[in-house]
């Protein structure tokens, strides 16, 4: 009886193993087929970033003069809108399949982007709380980290997906 059971499980294993191997192979082949080249990746991301970058520019229009004239709550509203747009852009571009050779570099870039988003959120909060100096310090960090993020993906030649100070008011 025991011998029969053992024989049965061996037969199942013999059938299941090639199927599993085939499935894994097909899966990795599909994944490889899905991995884009760097140019394809850049053009895909740029098409996502373009409308959002333009929306950011519209949302932030006059923010710097708002800060200059101490209308911090108005500026906070604009920063809040920019934060939402930035967050949604990062959310949209995160799941896009990445070129195999650039995965590590892009992972670093996405870390920087999340930091950027966090800074934008913090700037909004500090402006809302009327903490001018704290907001000012965070803006400096935001600009600095934006430039660092740009350097990580310099070779990609991004335009709309790169950080540009001029878009923020």
């Amino acid at each position: 009886m025991e011998k029969k059971l053992c024989k049965e499980s061996w037969r199942r294993l013999v059938i299941a193993l090639p199927i599993a191997v085939l499935a894994v192979m097909t899966g990795s082949a599909l994944a490889a087929a899905e991995e884009p080249t760097r140019d394809e990746y850049v053009s895909h991301l740029e098409s996502v970033c373009k409308p959002d970058a333009e929306a950011t520019q519209r949302a932030m229009k006059g923010a710097r003069s708002d800060v200059k004239t101490e209308r911090l709550s108005v500026a906070a509203g604009k920063f809040a809108k920019a934060t939402r747009i930035f967050g949604s852009t990062v959310k949209k571009i995160t799941p896009v399949p990445r070129p195999a050779a650039d995965k590590e570099r892009l992972a670093r870039w996405f870390t920087d982007l999340r930091r950027q988003k966090s800074y934008l959120g913090q700037i909004t909060a500090q402006l809302r709380s009327n903490h001018a100096i704290k907001a000012q310090r965070l803006i400096a960090r935001f600009i600095h980290s934006g430039n660092l993020a740009n350097n990580v993906v310099l070779a990609f030649g991004f335009n709309y997906c790169s950080f540009k100070f001029s878009r923020y008011g």
Partner: protein, 261 residues
């Protein structure tokens, strides 16, 4: 004694490290890549602390770099345009001018001898020369900037000179004022560099104090117009755009901060 020496060497090491960091930061600046061409621009305003309400004398330092990521030859630049913020006040009232004719085929010393009164800046330009069927080589030129007036409009004459190999080039940068973030523009066509020379790097500081009608003036002035509650402000500092021989335009802009005093 040894502890004093050790402390001294530690301080020196820190100072050197800080200086190294400063130089690295200054050289790099912000970068942008177009295909394999990497364009960078660094810059600084000196002093950083400026009055909130009225402009004060400043020096503007700019440093640009062109290189290719894959080591391929640099493209030829046919035109360069430097944009500065509209708020930057430019004063040439009573400042002597120099003419191109007086600078042509002169060494640095000769150029200074004839136009020192019009000097508004100094710097350097590095060129890469590619002669067909020969290995490319670099030329490091010293740069002098002189105040000029062309057809009644303000301009800057850049005199680039090197003794090895002997080379003297005069470039005319015209000022123009327009709208936008970088309303003050300095633009020049670069045919004078010839077809074999490629601009690889430049460094320039514009600064001049002078006296006119008993008043001390500055060639460049700026303020840091921020509310009392803030101690620092951020602004679009400069933009450089190169037009390449192919007709393509590449540019990079930088933002900097100022402190209110």
């Amino acid at each position: 004694m040894s502890s004093v020496l050790r402390r001294g060497s530690v301080i020196l090491a820190f100072a050197l490290a800080a200086l190294g960091l400063l130089i690295t930061t200054a050289v790099r600046g912000e970068r942008a890549q177009y295909g394999s061409l990497v364009v960078s621009l660094g810059g600084r305003l000196s002093p950083l602390s400026l009055p909130r309400e009225h402009p004060a004398p400043v020096a503007v330092g700019l440093e640009g770099n062109l290189r290719t990521a894959d080591g391929s030859p640099l493209p030829r630049v046919s035109r360069v345009e430097i944009g500065l913020p509209q708020q930057a006040a430019l004063s040439t009232n009573g400042l002597p001018t120099c003419t191109r004719r007086r600078l042509v085929v002169t060494s640095n010393a000769d150029a200074l001898a004839v136009c020192r009164a019009a000097l508004v800046g100094r710097g350097r330009v590095d060129l890469i020369v590619r002669v067909p069927h020969q290995a490319s080589f670099a030329i490091h030129t010293q740069l002098l900037a002189f105040n000029a007036r062309i057809n009644g409009r303000r301009a800057v004459l850049l005199h680039a000179y090197t003794a090895h190999p002997p080379l003297a080039v005069v470039l005319l940068f015209r000022f123009s004022h327009g709208s936008g973030r970088f309303g003050t523009r300095l633009a020049a066509s670069l045919p004078a560099l010839g077809s074999w020379a490629r601009v690889a790097r430049f460094k320039m500081v514009l600064w001049r104090r002078y006296v006119s009608r008993g008043r001390r003036r500055s060639y460049l002035s700026a303020s840091c117009p921020i509310p009392k509650r803030f101690t620092a402000g951020f602004f679009s500092f400069a933009r450089i755009a190169y037009r390449l021989d192919s007709g393509r335009q590449v540019s990079v802009a930088i933002a900097r901060s100022c402190r209110a005093r």
